[in-house]
Symmetry: C2
Subunit: 153 residues, 2 copies
DNA sequence: GCTTCATGTAACTTCATATGTTACATAAGG
DNA sequence: CCTTATGTAACATATGAAGTTACATGAAGC
């Protein structure tokens, strides 16, 4: 199962934007994420609709945060991405009339639902500000300069 | 994200085997699951190695349960399948040296790990016997005959 | 023995989807 | 009006589950 890394990617981008003064272009963010500018725009489009970021065209344009990091939880970002399925496993739906399948699916669904609920609750507890604070803690722990550590490549 | 339905499929097959007197051939199980016999064999191969089922070739051959349903939990089956990833979401690993990515991944990993642990715990609480009991309860609730309800098609 | 029925397995195709790329339209500075 | 940026469609690629075909292996019945 290939795992969806969009949530991880978006959070990465948003934190980089927070460290960036002024609008950050898709190209700059793409370089930092070793990906393509179009991928950045595609991911950010959903966030813009939800009001988490703003975009501006033309000279001096790019992406800026529209809210304080303390107001955004990981759950918010997950929702803004369209709530992609969290679990890699699902039920067969070939024969929903089969009572055996119903028994199996009912049991699995319960376990799956509980796990999803816990995960969503955990994501709701963490703000981007907390992640940013963790980042800065790691930064000082390494005693490196911001610009140096900021580079990926 | 396409979801892996092997666990659901295997449980379905095992419960059908429990209702089946004598060895069930891959072809019979495949028909009940509306899939291909080879898919059945592929999935069952792992279970055989773990001692949950036996297979016999030739006339009168097929698959039989090697243990009591009460001794097998959903977690056991999950393990026998090779513990495929439970979560559909993962971390980017493009720039593991990036402190921003480290902060993001640490937070996500924690949430993911908690959810996985809960799910595995839940799976460990449910035995195949419990699922079978649920199936039989549904059967009597519908007041149908076993042979009729057993058919998918 | 030989035929038949079944599993065992490799190799291939198909399908879904995240990800990456190209191309071009649109809008805002200068 | 040229440059810079986003916006988006269209296409390409990669991965992995699921399905299929083909053939080998082994056990029962004749």
């Amino acid at each position: 199962m290939k795992r969806d890394s969009r949530l991880s990617g978006v959070l990465h981008v948003l934190l980089h934007m927070a460290e960036h003064s002024g609008p950050a272009t898709s190209e700059v963010l793409a370089k930092a994420m070793s990906t393509n500018p179009v991928v950045i725009r595609r991911i950010m489009a959903g966030l813009r609709e939800q009001g988490y970021v703003r975009s501006e065209k033309g000279h001096g344009g790019g992406w800026t945060l529209a809210r304080d990091l303390a107001e955004i939880t990981l759950r918010d970002i997950y929702d803004a991405l369209g709530r992609p399925s969290l679990l890699a496993m699902g039920n067969r739906t070939e024969a929903p009339g089969c009572l055996v399948e119903q028994a199996v699916n009912t049991a699995l669904d319960k376990a799956f639902h509980d796990a999803e609920a816990l995960l969503l609750a955990r994501l709701g507890e963490v703000t981007l500000a907390a992640l940013s604070a963790d980042f800065h803690a790691r930064l000082t722990a390494r005693s490196g300069s911001l610009t140096t550590e900021f580079d990926h490549a």
